[in-house]
């Protein structure tokens, strides 16, 4: 706050500026920062009100560790596959010389699909790949192939990953499109006159330039899937053992009944999404040496 005092401005205007920013600051502190910090603190407080590491230690049970592991795998798989598929689709519509109208259609649809998460998305995938889903039935009657007998289940790891891709891919398309637009036409032309194939251009120039944006979106997709609960809950009830569902049950008082452990679960979630972002920041700082 000290630096705003420095310029010799009339005090009245100076307070007015801060009055404009104040609602935002108060709001962010009350509904974003304090609640998060409170949980972080609560994770280190025992039932007796004293500092303890017991809650953190309580995370290291088979059930909770398994939940974290499944969550990380589903989030990682859906983020990675979503990022790759989203990048491919974005490249196809932006640089693939497809008809002009296609791009805006895909971008609008991506805006819709990236927000079409939660409970309705679960319904859609049950109608598609559930035991009575259209695709399941068509595969069974027309191709005589029973995906459920082959081991698939929409309530499983791959089922959930496939479902999450429905909002992960569009999110990637929306986030990476500006970066692809930033690739100048002359770069590819210069590389062609220098004798490079399309593959060599992407290998040495195109992908390295997209890499930081790709990583940034990847970490965002990871966090996005890691915190998602509505889709999984609607698909599987509380039967699938992922962290958000575990925490949900904990909050609802369905299980465990230990507020300290609940806070520790939440802390673990924040730690993992934050870690994903830190990894991104470290890698991209190295990859972005060539940027201002």
């Amino acid at each position: 706050m000290t630096e705003t005092v420095a310029p010799p401005r009339p005090t009245r205007r100076f307070t007015f500026e801060w009055l404009g920013v104040a609602p935002f600051v108060i709001f962010a502190v009350m509904f974003l920062i304090l609640p998060t910090l409170y949980l972080v603190g609560a994770a280190f407080v025992g039932r007796d009100g004293q500092f303890t590491l017991e809650n953190i230690a309580g995370l290291f049970t088979d059930q909770i560790l398994a939940a974290y592991w499944i969550s990380i795998r589903i989030s990682g798989a859906s983020a990675l596959l979503g990022a790759i598929a989203g990048l491919a689709i974005a490249l196809a519509i932006i640089r693939g010389r497809l008809p002009d109208g296609l791009r805006s259609t895909v971008m609008t649809f991506s805006g819709v699909a990236s927000n079409f998460a939660g409970v309705p998305l679960a319904f859609a995938f049950i109608s598609t790949l559930g035991r009575l889903g259209l695709v399941t039935i068509i595969l069974k009657t027309v191709f005589d192939f029973d995906i459920y007998r082959a081991g698939f289940n929409v309530l499983s790891f791959w089922g959930l990953t496939l479902t999450y891709l429905y909002f992960q891919i569009p999110l990637m398309i929306l986030m990476i499109a500006p970066a692809i637009d930033g690739l100048k036409k002359e770069w590819s032309e210069a590389s062609q006159t220098l004798g490079a194939s399309a593959l060599q251009f992407w290998l040495y120039v195109g992908f390295p330039i997209l890499w930081p944006s790709f990583l940034g979106t990847l970490s965002l997709l990871f966090a996005n899937a890691f915190g998602a609960i509505a889709t999984a809950y609607a698909l599987t009830g509380s039967s699938l053992n992922i962290v958000p569902i575990l925490l949900y049950a904990q909050i609802r008082g369905d299980a465990l009944q230990n507020p300290g452990l609940g806070a520790a679960l939440a802390l673990g979630m924040i730690a993992i999404t934050a870690l994903a972002n830190i990894i991104y920041l470290v890698i991209s700082a190295r990859a972005e040496r060539w940027m201002r």
Binding site: W187, A190, G195, R289
Partner: protein, 328 residues
Amino acid sequence: MSDQHFLRVEGLTKHYGTNAVVKGVSFDFSKGEFISLLGPSGCGKTTILRMIAGFETPSSGTIQVDGEDITALRPNQRRLGMVFQAYALFPNLTVGDNIGFGLKVAGLGREQRRARVEEMLKLIGLPGFEKRFPYEMSGGQQQRVALARAIAPRPRLLLLDEPLSALDAKIRVSLREEIRAIQRELGITTVFVTHDQEEALSISDRIVVMNAGNIEQLGTPHDIYNRPSTRFAATFVGHLNTLPAASFGPDRAIRPELISLTQRPDTDTTLSGIVSDIGFMGSVLRLKVDVADVRLSIDTFNANSTPPQRGDAVTLHLASRDVLALGA
């Protein structure tokens, strides 16, 4: 043989739908020539360059380099070097890696690349810059690196697409002299696209003056300036005064620097007029003189003597052999 017909373009046309941008252009240049394609924007000069580079497919016509028909080749098979208006250096690669890019994709080893990069950096006057990134350099430096990148793989032809127009006036002049010097040293055949007539005149062996998809005139800078063959070539290149029709006949014109305020041995015609404006441009004074109902521009060297004032009556001297007849 192939030295004489090194770059040969025949009947080149390009249509976009019903819109013809290049209308049957042919020319033939020798090895080592520096050629400028000069014309206003939209005249088709850039389209021709991009057809030579392979980024546009001609609607008809052929392009031959060193006896080989390259019309159907992909850009990466043509072995040409190109420098773009906006530098187009790869931002993620160091200067050294940018210059070595063409060598790397051609499969040259690290040591050979390093040697060639060093040689190129010395050539463009930026030794020791190989570890820099493009954003750490000025526009002029970046464009020199782009030039080095284009010539490092020893291309058969160097294509320059308005490479100076993004730069400051001062750097533009020094870099164009440097480009010409390097081109002479390497003897590389070069096609230079520009809309700036001064640039084209100062740098080229021969100039192709273009307008609306056609060649207006092809010749040396001296020819183009002093013996323009079409009205467009005469008016687009350099300044021109249309002379009073009453005393010279219709469509007669003269360059501003060929009118003097004093008699010269070769002058045979005089005109009298009133000075209406004086522009001081450093080494040159540009006078506006009203002669009858025509306003003439006159360039004289700044001779450190008192220049004429507005309203002065002056006598103008010119040689009738300097008067150009403007054709169609």
